[in-house]
Amino acid sequence: MGWPTPAIDAHNRAFWTGGRDGRLLIACCGCCGAWTHPPVPRCPSCASERVEPAPVSGRAQVYSYTINRQRWTPELEVPYVIAIVELAEQHGLRLLTNIVGCAVEQVSIGMAVEVDFAQRGEVFVPVFRRAAT
């Protein structure tokens, strides 16, 4: 088993495929403007049904991370960094992701990162890299 892919459905399609056009699409309420993740059919803040995927800047900060060193499946290449990043658009708007493109020891809490995409079939997995300074 390699890296798992998500089953695509109406709610998550934008998130997992927006990378085809280089865009990170996050659910946003057309009524109150609140961003929410994961996407849901009604806004958790104002209950509006006008929740639609909208592009974000892709800029984020590392909220926390861990370096996985355990080969949970035989094919898994280790180590790699699993992180929770907070998107620039809204306090508390976070994604679980991978930090790629640097040595695992270089990742730190508070580090500025920006989105990139790792293609797996039709899925473009949003991952993050250290932001260009």
């Binding site: 890296w3 998500p6 089953a7 861990t66 370096i67 060193r69 699993i82 929770i84």
Partner: protein, 400 residues
């Protein structure tokens, strides 16, 4: 304070199978061992048992808050009811609840509302055997991951050390918690395991062993992680009217339960990752009793990973937020003769992952004065807790 539903309930009997990493008997056999022992211990016959509840039952946890892992579900309640030829007014197994002690709390509800008088509650695992046979620790639907896990597994966040590693790292970042402090939890568990013949890890564990061990998912190393075992634990939750008839003379009263979830039901969307659902569940528990943390004589705090003990210590108010590391540092405060003895049977870190039910069994032994070789003097009030991340449930127990 007016009477709470759980205060109408006692744990009248306890039972536990053999526990090990290379057992020859299968998980149903182990489960029945534990159930027979608990029923007899409560002074009951099988025909007295009118309820059966388990967590998570036999079902897959794929759509819940944990991925399906081999051996992590025991036999379902149907299999146990049939094997014991029980006649029940209520039975239930399921994972969608505030952690493993939801099964005990659910049993208390069934008793307190009059649906049942004696509920058999069990948790069974055979992860040691199942993991030896499996080539992959995580099974994933080839058509793609669904549910909450679909936000984590595509990033290789396969297992507990990954998720809890994220929590631990943030706690270290904000409060300066150290690996040496986490080690104090692991070393305490091992010292206590050496006094428990059923604990799977008996050898000495030194700080150097801990610090030089393999890193699994930073900052968690091998000795921060609990151990897969085969084993089953059962308890009987009875109406407190049965208390005078308990043959061992030490009914364990349920003083309070904590089950509140005060955050998002999610591993990756928890707002403040320097605390877990333990904080909400802990606050809930103390709101249901006149007791305070200072009344607790012995505790079995969930230690699927060492750092979880810190989250529970803080969440339950045994220390301030962020002070869990200093609280356990050096280990004297949490030792058998300390002010708050923890994991007295070795916990999950050294006795084996019986998924919180090992702690429940051990604390009942302590409160009954039966923890041979490791008895905490004059233990009358005990606390047990279950769960990590968004899962948390806890029980305050007393014999006096």
């Amino acid at each position: 304070m007016s009477e709470r539903f759980e205060q109408r309930c006692i744990i009248s009997g306890i039972g536990q199978s053999e526990v090990g990493r290379r057992l020859t008997r299968d998980v149903l056999a182990l489960t029945l061992d534990a159930c027979h022992e608990a029923i007899a211990d409560a002074g009951l016959a099988r025909e007295d048992v009118d309820g059966v509840i388990s967590w998570p039952g036999a079902v897959s946890r794929a759509e819940g808050l944990a991925p399906p892992g081999p051996g992590s579900s025991g036999p379902g309640t149907g299999a146990v009811i049939d094997a014991l030829r029980l006649r029940t007014n209520w039975h239930y197994g399921g994972p969608e609840s505030p952690g493993m002690f939801a099964a005990v709390i659910h049993a208390c509800m069934a008793v307190a509302c009059g649906l049942c008088r004696h509920v058999l509650v069990y948790r069974a695992l055979n992860e040691a055997t199942a993991w030896r046979a499996a080539t992959e620790r995580v099974s994933v639907d080839p058509d793609g991951v669904r549910g909450t896990m679909s936000w984590m597994l595509p990033y290789g966040a396969f297992s507990g050390p990954n998720w809890i590693g994220l929590w631990a790292m943030r706690h270290m970042h904000e409060f300066g918690t150290t690996r040496e402090q986490l080690a104090a939890v692991a070393l305490n568990a091992r010292r206590n395991a050496q006094r428990n013949p059923k604990a799977v890890m008996q050898g000495e564990l030194r700080i150097d062993d801990y610090l030089s061990s393999k890193m699994i998912s930073d900052p968690l190393c091998l000795f921060d992680c609990d151990l897969a075992v085969d084993g089953a634990t059962a308890v009987i939750v009875s109406t407190s009217e049965h208390a005078p008839d308990v043959p061992h003379g030490k009914p364990v009263h349920v003083e309070a339960v904590g089950s509140a979830l005060q955050g998002r039901a999610s591993w990756d969307q928890w707002a403040d990752m320097t605390e877990t659902a333990a904080t909400g569940a802990g606050r809930h528990l103390w709101s249901r009793t006149d007791c305070t943390p200072g009344d607790v004589d012995v505790a079995g705090l969930y230690d699927g990973f060492s750092v979880l003990t810190l989250f529970w210590l803080e969440g339950l108010g045994f220390c301030d937020k962020g002070e869990g590391g200093p609280f356990v540092e050096g280990g004297s405060r949490i030792a058998l003769d300390g002010e708050l003895p923890l994991a007295t049977g070795g916990g999950q870190l050294s006795a084996g992952r019986l998924h919180a039910f090992g702690h429940l069994h051990e604390v009942c032994l302590q409160l009954r004065g039966q923890a041979s070789g490791r008895q905490v003097a004059d233990a009358k009030v005990g606390l047990v807790s279950a769960g990590a991340g968004p899962l948390a449930s806890c029980l305050l127990l007393r014999t006096a």
